[in-house]
Every structure is written in C-alpha cells, then in structure tokens.
Amino acid sequence: MSQLYERYSAAALATATRVLGDRVEAEDVVQEVFVRIWERAADYDTGRGSVAAWVMSSIRNASIDRIRRRDAQRRAVDASAAEPRAQPEKGEFPEDLKRVNAAVAQLPPDQRQAIELAYFEGLSQSEIAARLKQPLGTVKTRVRLAMQKLRAALAGLAEVPE
C-alpha cells in the first residue's frame, strides 16, 4: 500500500487535478481511490493488467464520475486553470508506461487532442466531434490511430504504419 502510494500518488493527483481543475476535489478523489484500492488489494488479479493502469484508470473514472455529478456551471473550468503547477518530479512509472508517455508527446496534435478530450474530460466521440466542429468519422479515425500508436509503444514496437 505504502509503496503503491509512493509510486503513483503524484501522477494520480496530477490526473485528478487535470480532470477536475480543483486541487481540493482532486485530493478527495485520490483518497477515495487509494482507500478503495487498499480494501480490494486482495482481489487484484494480475492477469487483468498492470497495477499502474489499474490505479490510473480508477483515478480517471472516479474523477469523471465526480465531474458528471457537478453543477454544469462549474464544469466550465478554464483549461489553463487546470494546468498543474510546476512541482518536483516524482512518481516513477514502469518502463513500458514511460514509452507510452513518450509516444503521447509524439502524437499529431489533433490526435492527441481527441483522446485527451475523451480521457480527461469524459467526452464521447460525437461530443468531441461537436466540440471540434469535425465530422464524427474524422474523430473516430483520430482516436483509433492515436490509441494504435500508444498500444504499439506499450508493446515496445516501432511506429505502426498509418
């Protein structure tokens, strides 16, 4: 538990803050998720995926759930306010996730934007299309290509053909 927290809490707090745009709420989500993880640690099935992905998707989902419960007015958070402040580097991710991290940085901006709108703002593909004023088919393609590259990075493969 302690190790898990040392390793992932900084990334977890960054993710929750990015989604919620509010540090206090983000800390609440981190607490809620880590306590739940602690309670269920015995059920954790290693066949299901990495611990990092388990922690991060729990954080992301709990944050999105919370934002959906929020007043629609409060949802209009200025994206710049959600940008985390500069902090000391911490939270070592496993090697394969660092590769994905690098792959995220190399995505074409429109592909990255599409998956970030889904992941951090909880938008569906049609909502992303409306937000970006792009055809739905274009958004679907961007999402698919972006995720294909991230998966390839995770598997340690070179760039996949487009």
Binding site: M1, S2, Y5, S9, A10, A11, L13, A14, T17, R18, R23, E27, V30, Q31, F34, V35, W38, E39, A42, D43, R48, G49, S50, A52, A53, M56, S57, N61, P84, A86, Q87, E89, K90, G91, F93, L97, R99, V100, N101, V104, I115, E116, A118, Y119, G122, L123, S124, Q125, S126, I128, K140, V143, R144, A146, M147, Q148, L150, R151, A153, L154
Partner: protein
Amino acid sequence: MTHAEFQDLCAAHALGALDGEERGALEAHLAECAACRRLVAENVEATAGLAAALKPIEPPTALRDRILVAARASTPRFTGPRAVIPSWAVPAAAAAALLVGVWFGAKLQEVSKGPSALQAELEKVRGDNAKLREEIETNRRTLAELQTKEVKFMADAAMGEMSGGIGAEAALGKVFWHKNEVHVMAAGLPMPPEGKGYQVWALVDGMKPMPGNVFTPNAAGAMAGAGEIVGIPQGKVVKFAVTVEPIAGVKEPTGAMIMTPMEKK
C-alpha cells in the same frame, strides 16, 4: 457487426468515448469475445500513458496520513461466493474506526469517548468551562498523537489476511505487522466459550507457531488489538491464525483454529 468492426471500437471504448448504441453493442460482444476483451485491456493499459504524460503533482503529507488512517479504519470486503455484505460489517467498521491507534488500547478508549462526553458536561457545568476546555484540548492532542504514531506504524507495516475457520465462517481479519509489533482487527466472530479468548499466532514455515496476545471480541463480534510477537524472522513469509485458548494464553496452540490464513487465489 463483424468481429473486425468491433475491434475498431475497442480503442474508443477503453477511453470511455463510445456513444450509447455502439457501446451497448460492443459490451454485448465483449461478453463472448476474449480477443476483443484483451484488446480493450491493452487499450486501457495504453491510456495510463496519458496520465503518465502529465507533470506529477506531489501530494501534501496530510493526504497520505488521511489515506492511511481511513484505510486502517475500513473493513475488508468479501468477494466470491460470500459476496453478501454481512450485517456485522457496519458495526465492525464503526468499531474499527474507533480503534485507530489501538496499540495504546486503554488510553485510546478513554480518549475516544472523551470529547463528546466532556462536551455534554460542559453545558451542564458552566462554571468549570475553562478547565473542561483545557481537558478537551488535551484529549484532542493525545488522540492526534496516537493517530500520528499509528500512521507511522502503518507506513511500514505489512498486511496479512485471515478468514473464518469452522464455527466462524463469516469472520474476516486483517493483521498488520512490523518487526515484532502486531496489530489485529477482525469481525464476524462468535463469542468465545466462558473463560476462553482468541489467541493470535504468527506462522512461518519450518518454525513453531509464535504466540501473540489473547483478545475477546465485543458484542458485535469485532475484535481489535495490538501486541508483540517475539521472534518473527525478517524476510520470511509470515502468516497469521487465531485459536481458541484460555484467557491467560498458552505457549503452543491447543484449541480450535477460529481464523486461518487467507489463501490468495
């Protein structure tokens, strides 16, 4: 839709970005297609890269402390065939919450009923106002100190789990230990026979069971306490069990095993 078409939806599904209809169709397909389930899992794995790409934010120490205390106070969850939440879980959680810092057992009990009892008195005896306030403040500080000690212990402690043996099928327990210090929490226990209690044992392959303290559960079947078990070796797999023994405790187990080490699936 064909399997290939479903495959195309897996990435968006992992991002939670499928719209209603497509999501429903894919979820139905996932129930019967292991290949697509695997593909979704791989995509979920990849989404963690998005989190990893953010600049980390170091959480305040207070958050870590809050989590450790809350985690300590929560009861473990049943899964599998015994997934029904037993009625004892609620009082047990409340009991466990009170027992944070139980290493200083008696002291804490005194303190934990302190503030509210004193508060009531405060209203009755206005004249003693200042003195009582001081007492409340002292109790509050003692409680905070106990919690801090507990948090420090929890940061280092390892955890073992126990399930109920014969006659205590609903029981569930957690043991936290660090060096010789052992904290035990259990719930769902029956009352022991007259003159008997529940003794904790540390079990290590190739060694005799090492005796710990004897505890008795409260009326709700919850039990919590702490003590020392001498001789727990470093770097070995340590499991814990509980047997029914005389209140004074014994050097080697003699009674029935009411709690056994939980086997991981």
